[in-house]
């Protein structure tokens, strides 16, 4: 294992860094639960659909952003290719949904 440059002891610095990241992820989780509750509450209150639908869609997008960047580490270094793949997927998603929904309008 000596030839591996990545190999080093888990020193207290690294442990502290891991703990710090964990703390951020717990805050992320709390926010995700909070957003979920707002979305369900808004729908159960029965407010007008023109207001509720954009609100719950925005909450979903923010939640998913948290999931990708904090839980799946897309904010970390060396995640350019994963980000390109996921944004490529999101681009296709936009095209597909636009196409399929537009078909049913005509």
């Amino acid at each position: 294992m000596t030839e591996n440059p990545n190999t080093s002891k888990i020193n207290s610095f690294q442990k502290e860094k891991n703990r710090d990241e964990m703390r951020k992820q717990i805050i992320t989780f709390a926010l995700m639960i909070f957003f979920t509750m707002i979305a369900f509450f808004a729908v159960m209150m029965g407010t007008s659909s023109t207001f509720v639908i954009p609100l719950i869609l925005i909450l979903a997008v923010v939640q998913v952003g948290f999931q990708f960047y904090y839980f799946m580490h897309m904010k970390d270094k060396g995640h350019e290719v994963p980000a390109a793949l996921i944004y490529g997927g999101i681009f296709v998603t936009a095209l597909v949904i636009l196409t399929f929904v537009a078909i049913t309008w005509w």
Partner: protein, 207 residues
């Protein structure tokens, strides 16, 4: 794998899942797979959005859905996403037992989620006669939500196999990437569910 990859505090790299070339490739490979999965679910979501009002006189989304059950399922899956984050945290600190414990909790939460989903589908079929063949809405609904449920079932099989196979091996540079790729897959399942509960269930109750 001719080298001994078992880890101890002296040889522990900062991130054992990406310390080897094989590990790096597995990480990238899983992201390529997730890019493909995004497109797959995009098609299912597009179909659902196009067909969700085509009920053919059968039950509509407002007749069927109950928010309490969906809320419970959402909390279960979100929490299982956090427990797998905990598991990976313990992996980075080279604590194999705690990693297995938290992945075990993840598996239990996933099983609970799947049980509720099976109950939900059985409820629709028996109490409403709402099946895959009832209407275009029925086909699109079961295709989308069922495909997600299938992903959860596959993920559970993956996780349980991984945990049982490596139970006596301990953490090594060989199996750390395997656990890490599973963690990423599991978060992606949760991402898809966030859109399902928003687009299918919540929007189905509003309009």
């Amino acid at each position: 794998m001719s080298q001994d990859h078992s880890l101890n505090p002296e040889t522990m790299p900062q991130d054992p899942s990406k310390a080897t070339m094989e590990g790096k490739h597995k990480h990238l490979g899983l992201w390529i797979f997730l890019g493909g999965e995004t497109v797959l679910f995009a098609c299912l979501f597009g179909t659902y959005l196009a067909l969700r009002n085509s009920t053919a006189g059968g039950p509509s989304s407002q007749d069927l859905f109950g928010l309490e059950l969906v809320f419970l399922m959402t909390i279960l899956l979100l929490t299982s996403s956090l427990t797998s984050v905990y598991a990976i945290y313990h992996m980075k600190n080279n604590d194999f037992k705690k990693m297995q414990l938290w992945f075990g909790i993840t598996a239990l939460l996933g099983i609970a989620f799947l049980a509720f989903e099976i109950y939900e589908f059985a409820h629709y079929i028996h109490d409403y006669g709402f099946t895959f063949r009832s209407s275009a809405f029925g086909s699109a609904f079961y295709a989308l939500v069922g495909f997600h449920g299938g992903h959860v079932a596959f993920g559970l099989g993956w996780l349980i196999t991984l945990m049982v196979r490596n139970a006596k091996r301990g953490l090594s540079l060989y199996n750390a990437p395997k656990y890490n790729t599973f963690g990423l897959y599991w978060h992606f399942i949760d991402v898809v569910w966030v859109f399902i509960f928003t687009v299918v269930y919540l929007m189905g109750m509003v309009s």
